[in-house]
């Protein structure tokens, strides 16, 4: 049982990291949203497995929130925004896919090395999930750095938040109030970001973040 519970947790958390790489690899906006929804599904499965292993019932609720908000509401809302803005083109990367992948691998290796050392007195499951959670967070940040399209930056931000939820469930005793407030703050962030996207595309007629450089008086 011990071996199996670890293996399943490893499978799900490893799947999350893998899907983060798929997000980095994906070059089409709609496909990007589908992969993001898939990541949310795997995240909720992972949280539910933690709930089962730890015997913590409130984590089931977290899993449900993660599934409802991130696998359904946010992807559908972003789909609508993209359709409304009429920007279903290929995503433009600042650097090439190959270089991004190498950077991502370096980040994953870094987070494994750091987390396995730092959290050496925590439980096996917690250490393992923390290591993967840090990878997902860093990959989300990488995605926000390498993409030029504002919508895919939003997806990067949301996947970063997936990593935070994974870390929160791995650490035992996170109160439910905190988790619910985090989940709702993401929804609030979606609303704010949606408004910003419309404002940006109104003013610059594009959601390419490089257009924003004009505000600084020079183009990057």
């Amino acid at each position: 049982m011990k071996g199996l519970s670890f293996d399943v947790a490893h499978l799900l958390a490893g799947g999350l990291v893998l899907i983060s790489f798929l997000l980095l690899y994906q070059t089409r906006l709609y496909a990007l949203l589908n992969v993001f929804a898939l990541q949310a599904v795997v995240l909720s499965l992972s949280v539910a497995w933690q709930a089962y292993v730890q015997g913590a019932d409130h984590l089931y609720l977290t899993a449900l929130f993660a599934f409802a908000f991130k696998a359904i509401i946010i992807p559908v809302a972003l789909h609508r925004i993209i359709a409304e803005l009429g920007i279903h083109r290929d995503v433009e990367n600042v650097v090439g896919v190959g270089l991004t992948m190498l950077g991502g691998l370096a980040l994953v290796a870094l987070s494994e090395v750091v987390m396995l050392r730092i959290a050496s007195d925590a439980g096996v499951l917690a250490r393992e999930d923390l290591a993967f959670a840090l990878s997902v967070v860093l990959l989300g940040m990488l995605m926000m750095v390498v993409r030029r399209n504002a919508v895919s930056m939003v997806v990067g931000f949301m996947s970063l938040e997936n990593g935070l939820i994974l870390a929160a469930t791995a650490a035992k005793g996170m109160p439910l109030v905190v988790e619910i407030s985090v989940a709702f703050s993401v929804l609030v962030a979606l609303v704010v970001i949606g408004v910003f996207l419309f404002r940006i595309s109104e003013r610059f007629e594009t959601v390419d973040a490089h257009a924003l450089d004009r505000l600084r008086g020079r183009r990057g």
């Binding site: 670890f6 499978l11 490893g14 993967f132």
Partner: protein, 319 residues
Amino acid sequence: MAMIVDLIFQLFQMTLVIAVAPLLTGLVRVTKARLLRRKGPPLLQSYRDLVRLARKEAIVADTASWLFRFVPYLVFAATWVAAALVPTFATGLLFSWSADLIAIVALLGAARFFLTLAGMDVGTSFGGIGSSREALFGAMAEPAMIVIVFTLALVAGSTQLSTVAAYMVSSNVGLRVSLAMALVALVIVALAENGRIPVDNPATHLELTMVHEAMILEYSGRHLAIIELAAMLKLVLYVSLIACVFVPWGLAIADASVSARLVGAVAYLAKLGLAGVALAVFETSIAKMRVFRVPDFVGAALMLGFLGALLLFVSRTLK
């Protein structure tokens, strides 16, 4: 006596892979034709093609050097030896202890090196294009293959294919996400190495994007027959490799009885058939990639391999 039995089984494997190679290619062609609602060539057409080519006169360009004549035999020999090292119906055959997975990668790499040289030898522009593209894809596919080998070696504790296959048959493999990643990466590498559809189109040499066909454009007669046979053998090799590591059921473990080995042979043929149909379905349902997208595609295999090895490293440190 035991030595002689082992030798007989080893020779049986070597004749089996070479006898079945044109059949597998023929099966893929027929299935693809049927999926397109064409009648397609008969199943045994690949054998007839090879015989016809072997009977024809081999015409060699005036500018070709001695290398051009030698390369077909070199490529075929390297591929055949590599195929003899992969467990097809039984592990622990006589030759399998003499070289491991890294040696197989090296043999295939040597075959690729000589084929690219031969492509450039005559000095036509098509051969040069084909060789440069082959070198580009190989530079991505070979590191990916090596990383996959590392992942498998970390799981099974050996780079020896017989040991790996025996470990995979046993029940202590468990549930590992790394192995799934290694499988996907290996499938991508196999598609790239055999020039199958998202990377290269094996059915035509009338395209500007061709890779393998461009390299062998100058070959004719028996030279072409040998190269074609080597390409078919390579497909069988990769299918056997994937089968013996990831679907090892039915494989006879070392020192098994003769009947167990016969069961293994039947299971192996069934796996080859399934793989051929699956390949045909995959190729029909997908479009060929632009050449400059291929490094991204094969790079994904490299990334998956690395990620699998990293995850394996984590779980091993923790356990």
